[in-house]
Every structure is written in C-alpha cells, then in structure tokens.
C-alpha cells in the first residue's frame, strides 16, 4: 500500500504553513529519519523527517506553496516492490489546490490532528477606533508581528528599555515574538535567561527600581506562578511601601490562558488573578492593533504592567494602523461593534467567541453591542455602564475559571452602579470549573463556546 505523507503540525496551535523546500525528488528512495522537506510557519522553520521507508512516488504539494493546511496530502511514498510510476499517476492532482482534502484520505489521522479550539475569527466589521485618525492606512499584521514591532519601536526610542526571558534572544523567542530583536539590538539589550522565573523576575524588578524599563517575557504565564511573589510583593507594592520614592516601571508579558491540547498545567488564564492586585495594571488585548498600541503604552508606563497575550491569537491577522508612533491608552475599553439590544463585554481570546456569536445573533435580529475591555485593571467601567444604560442587558465572555472571574467582577459592579438600568440578570460565560483536560473532546467542553454565548444573549433578551 502506498503511504500518504501529510502536512505535519509543528505546534499545538498550528493550522497551516508553507512547504518551503523539498529535499528529496520524485523517484528518490528514503529511509526512516531522512529529512525530506522543510516547513515554515510564522513561528518556526522545521524539518520533516520520513517515518517510513520507500520511494517518493509523487510530490503533491510543490515547494514554495503557502497556506498548506495541517494534514493535507503533500506526497506519496511507494513501499518496496510497488510500482512508483503507476502510483505517481493521477494521485493528488486535485489535492494540490484543495489542500485540506488530503486529510480525508485517512480519517483516523485527521481526527488525531490538534483540535484548535478556536477557528479563525469571522469577518466582523470592527467599529472605528477613535484613537486612530480617520483615513489612516491600515496594514494586515499578525498579533505576533505587532508585539514584536511594539518592542522594537520602543527599544529604538529609549535605551533604557530591554527585553529578558527564556529563549528571547538566540532562539528568537519560544513563540517567535522577539524575532529579530537580538540582531537589531544585540545581547546587551536582548537577554536570554536561564530557566529561573522567580530569579529573573526579581532581577527585572530590581533593575526597574533603579529606573530601567525591562520587558520580562514569560514563556507562558503558567510559569510566572513561580515568580508571582516578585510580581506582587516587589513590583506592585514598592511604590506604596516607599511612600512614592521608587516603583517598578516594568512589563511582564507572555502568552496566557489555554493554548491547545497542553492540558491542566499549561492552560490557565491569569486575568482575574492579577487584576486583584492594587499597584498593577493588567492588559489583555485581542486585536493586533491593540496589542501594538497597548504594548507600547505598557513599556512607557511608569507602573508595573502585566501584559497577557494568547498563543492562539499570535498568528491571527488584523489591520494595524500605519502610524509612526501608535500608542493606545491603557484603561480604556474599545467598542468593537455598536448595537442597541444587548451588551457583550469580553477581552483577549474571549472576543473570538463573542465576535462569532454576534454574527449568529444578527440572523435572529438581535443587535449586539460588543465591548472589548482591553485593560482588565484599571477597568473601564464607565464604558460598560454607558452601554448597559442603552441596552439594559449584559453578558460577559472569558476563558478563565468562573469563580471570582473578571465577569463576576463586572457583574457585581454593574449591579451596584447601574441596577436600575438592567432589564435582565447579568450572565457570565467563562471556562468550566475544572482543570483543563487533555482529551480533545473534553478540552472543547471545558472552554466556552459560541453556542453558550448565543444562548446567554438570547436568555437575557428573553428570546
């Protein structure tokens, strides 16, 4: 039987990639372990090794093809004794264009592919951001590039800004966020640390206490739990404890929340945790424009800022304004879409559920106003309350755990400050109250989903 070689996934969140190079030609024989191709994603370039022995009968996806979906058929391998020429004929001719079809060749494999819990964002008309001048040229940019650009711009602007963390320099970032920074700024300002979160968080805070402006990258915020004492007891409280004499102008940033299929210890949202602490600012952007504008603001901010990113969003494209110095205000929510019937408040990856839900709800004639909170602390409650005064109904959406969540905080404060305007109880959509399971089906259940958001909105609308 010929063996199908499928486009491999290089990380839990990869959906597609570029087949940059074939190292074997049709007719070449390969042994298990031979490098047969190079695949590039926005995150990494990886070599693909043959798993089986045989002869390359057909290269289905030519070198240089972009956006090849994970599990698409990319080549066919003939086993010993099989007729290479015969196999090569007619195989995969139609698959070249319809990449994902390859996955159907072997359904078992397709099912085993990493289930990205959140598909790409649907097209929703994003309301004009009042912070972006009308007529500004917009450039399609990934969140990853936006974050990198923000750091590079601020490092060019201010010699006191530097970035430190695990794999930020020579590896170019575990998630490629710091790509190219070492080359531009050198190893004095782009510093690889040992795997020692508690220690380097403290080193960063100490440096910040002298007035330097460190950007400390955590490979993920899960690992920052090892360092949380320095974030809270040192970074957040020094200004107060010193009677205003010294503080810590520092940014702690990195991916936060669930990625895909990495289970309990690597899947947790810390928005509510850090938002509990006076002395911290907590930012959690969704779009690339917000990621850029808010990271630049965070780096300039004289206070410690917790900047929560999301691995699944890193590769998503958004329009980013082409401006010399695009800085957004921390502490200000953005009305993602105006509407009149009901308000949804979300932030970060929660926005992916909300944006899809409002498309569904539109079909049922429900006009949602969607607020992207962007900053969790200080919270822009006035924007939420203004919206609730108009709609009378509120649903919050986030991936974090339900108890003491950002949503329950919003619900409490809206209830206290805008009770008379509410026409229905506030509903809070959150992740389930369980450690993140590994199994694909259970993981999907543990996260919020679009259906839950749609249902919650209908419930508060009594529909």
């Amino acid at each position: 039987m010929p063996i199908d070689i499928l486009m491999p996934a290089l990380s839990p969140t990869m959906e597609e990639g570029t087949l940059s190079k074939w190292l074997k030609n049709e007719g070449d024989s390969v042994k298990a372990g031979d490098v047969i191709a190079e695949i590039e994603t926005d995150k990494a370039t990886m070599e693909v090794e043959a798993v089986d022995e045989g002869t390359i009968a057909k290269i289905v996806v030519p070198a240089g093809t972009e956006n090849v979906k994970v599990n698409a058929l990319i080549a066919v391998l003939a086993e010993e004794g099989e007729d290479v020429d015969q196999l090569g004929k007619g195989v995969g001719e139609d698959e070249v264009e319809a990449g994902p079809k390859g996955a159907e060749v072997e359904p078992a494999k397709a099912e085993a592919a990493p289930a990205a819990p959140v598909p790409a964002a649907p097209k929703v008309e994003i309301a004009a951001d009042p912070d972006i001048p009308a007529g500004t040229e917009m450039v399609s940019t990934t969140v990853r590039e936006a974050l990198r650009d923000a750091m590079a711009e601020e490092m060019r602007r201010d010699g006191d800004v530097f970035v430190m963390g695990e794999e930020v320099a020579e590896y170019q970032g575990a998630y490629k966020i710091t790509q190219g920074l070492l080359q531009e700024f050198g190893d004095r300002r782009v510093i690889d640390t040992p795997i020692t979160e508690h220690g380097f968080a403290g080193v960063g805070v100490g440096a910040a206490m002298t007035g330097l402006k460190p950007i400390v990258e955590f490979m993920t915020f899960n690992f920052a739990m090892q360092a949380i004492d320095q974030l809270i007891n040192s970074a957040a409280k020094t200004l107060y404890m010193s009677g205003g004499q010294m503080g810590a102008p520092i940014v702690f940033r990195g991916p936060n929340g669930a990625a895909a299929r990495v289970a309990a210890q690597h899947s947790q949202c810390y928005a509510a945790w850090y938002s509990h602490i006076p002395g911290l600012k907590v930012v959690m952007p969704y779009t690339a424009a917000d990621a850029k504008g808010l990271l630049k603001a965070a780096i300039r901010d004289p206070n410690p800022v917790i900047f929560l990113e999301n691995e699944i969003l890193y590769g998503q494209h958004f329009d980013v304004p082409k401006l010399d110095d695009f800085v957004l205000p921390i502490g200000k929510a953005r009305i993602h879409k105006t509407g009149k019937d009901v308000t949804i408040v979300s932030f970060g990856i929660g926005m992916t559920y909300a944006t899809k839900a409002i498309v569904e709800l539109e079909k049922d004639g429900i006009d949602v106003e969607l607020i992207d909170l962007r900053t969790i602390r200080p919270m822009d409650l006035p924007t939420i309350i203004e919206s609730v005064k108009k709609t009378g109904r509120l649903v919050t959406v986030e991936e974090g755990y339900p108890q003491n969540s950002v949503g329950t905080e919003i619900a409490t404060r809206v209830m206290q400050q805008a009770f008379d305007y509410l026409d229905a109880p506030i509903l809070t959509i959150a992740g389930k109250d369980v450690p993140m399971p590994y199994a694909a089906n259970l993981e999907k259940l543990a996260l919020p989903n679009v259906g839950e958001v749609v249902q919650a909105v209908k419930t508060v609308c009594y529909k």
């Binding site: 040992p194 403290g202 080193v203 100490g206 007891n233 040192s234 010193s242 205003g244 010294m246």
Partner: protein
Amino acid sequence: MAPRKTATVSSRKSAARPVKKDFNGGTVVDFSKEQDLNAYREMLLIRRFEEKAGQLYGMGFIGGFCHLYIGQEAVVVGMQMALKDGDQVITGYRDHGHMLACGMSARGVMAELTGRQGGLSKGKGGSMHMFSKEKNFYGGHGIVGGQVSLGTGLAFANRYRGNDNVSLAYFGDGAANQGQVYESFNMAALWKLPVIYIIENNRYAMGTSVSRSSAQTDFSQRGASFNIPGYQVDGMDVRAVKAAADEAVEHCRSGKGPIILEMLTYRYRGHSMSDPAKYRSKDEVQKMRSEHDPIEQVRARLLEKKWASEDELKQIDKDVRDVVADSADFAQSDPEPDVSELYTDILI
C-alpha cells in the same frame, strides 16, 4: 528540650577563610584613630536606636513586627566604610541598622516605625519596608530572600549602564536556604554582575539554629556550584568586616563578578519583639556579649591606644543618645499620615 549549646564565634573560624589565594579578607588591618572613632559612633547609634525602638515597642508606639539589629552592628558599619557614592544597598526585614549606616535620618526611620507622616515611607511601609532613593537604599523587604533577586537586579542595572557601582545584597542564614538565592547566584555569576552577597549568619533563622536548618552550614561555600568565591568573616570585628569589604568591593568593581561574604555574627535579642528566645541559653547570649561585643571591642581599643578618654567616649555616647532621643520625640509627636494618603502612591 534543653537549649543546645552552640559554639562561640571564637571557636569557629574567626578570620576570613580564603578560597582563592588572591583574597586576604579578614586579615585584620588596624584602623586609624578616625576610623575607630567613626565606627564606634556609628555602631553606638544603631545600638542605642534599637534599644529605644525596643522601648517604644513595649510602650505600644511601634506596632506589628520589629526586628532589632543589636549585636550585628559591626557588619553593616564595616561594609559601609568600604563603599563610595552610587553603590547600592538592599536587605531584608532586620533593616534599621542598614538604614542608619546608609545615612538615612534617625528621625525618618523612627517615625516610620511609629507610622507617622514624617517616616521615610510616610508611615506606609513600617519597620520592614523603608527606602531611600537619595541614599541608594532599596529596602527593607519583608519576604525572606526576595531582596537577593532584587539586589542582583540592581547589579544588573549597573552593568547595563556601564557604571562602576557595586550593589550589596544582605540576607540571613535563614534566607540562604531560599531557592531564588541560588537562581540569583547563577545569573550573577553567568553575567559577572557586580554584587556582594552578604550572608549575616547570626546562627538562628527565627528560632531554628543553623545546624538544624542547613545541610551545609558553611555559608561562604553556598556559591561553590556557581564558581562564586566566598569567605567567612568575623562579623563581630568591624576591622575584619572592613578589610573583607574592601577586597570584595574591589573584586566587583574590577569586573570579576559576584562574591559572597559570610559574616559570623550574633543577635542579642529575639528574632522579633515577641520572641522570648527559648531556643538558646542565656549563657550563650551573655558569653557573646561579654567576650565579642563589637562596640566594646572598639571602645577597649580606643582607650588602650589612648585615642579617646572615658570622658570623650561619654560625650560620644551622650551625642548619640541625644540623636536617638530626638528621633523618639519626633516619632511620638509627629502626626499620623493624612487619611488622603491611603489612596496615594499606588500608581504613578
């Protein structure tokens, strides 16, 4: 359980034990008259200040935790004598002595202890959390070991800026068992950061003696895994401390990276004001006070060398008492912070 008998300083290695031959730390170099008089005055100020703080605590003027430095004065005074302007100091919660030695005002420290608006942190920090940007004193940290990473960060900043300042990170034998200390050692050695780690080994981590808490009780060797040189120093002899400090500062300033000084010292009082110190015998404390007191050693020397008469020393004592009494008066009469201060200094 009967208190264990612990070896005295004199029976331990009282001189610095060099690991590398190029270090002569602890080779006691005689002080000049001015140095001895200065050390005497500085140590006495800390002693009298702490005694007064203890009194005010007993009277209810000082609340919360209050950790006195009595007995350990030679460590911070000797170290400070080796520094230049721009060098930085950071320590843990037993910090009053460090602040006075850094030149922070007795009034400011005492008023912070009583939680008054004239305190160094406007009354918002208390005994364990005081800072002075002006004097390059970076706290005053209440989380055991936290200051070690932060102090390493101060050194990182010096290297980043390309200046020749050195940072001093003080911590105790208790903090020496915290994980982040070793994370910091690793980075400091890796990046050759100009930081002196001063382990004030006063033999007790709160109530747990070194032998009951530490597998390796020679703290000067705690950097061995990171190739950080370390030396034991008689922390009761201000001259030995100063000599070791001079060499350590030179080591750091010349770009050789971090260094560890283990100061063999002793606290006379309990861990904090609420500690009756039942884990050690009164004899042990008394023996240390009578045979190794850091202030008495200088006093005896001053008299022996006829650098000061009894009357002159009494005058110094009186001057010091006046400073302390003034700080105590201020700390009791200064108003509490304005209620509006509750919500200031949280964010800039």
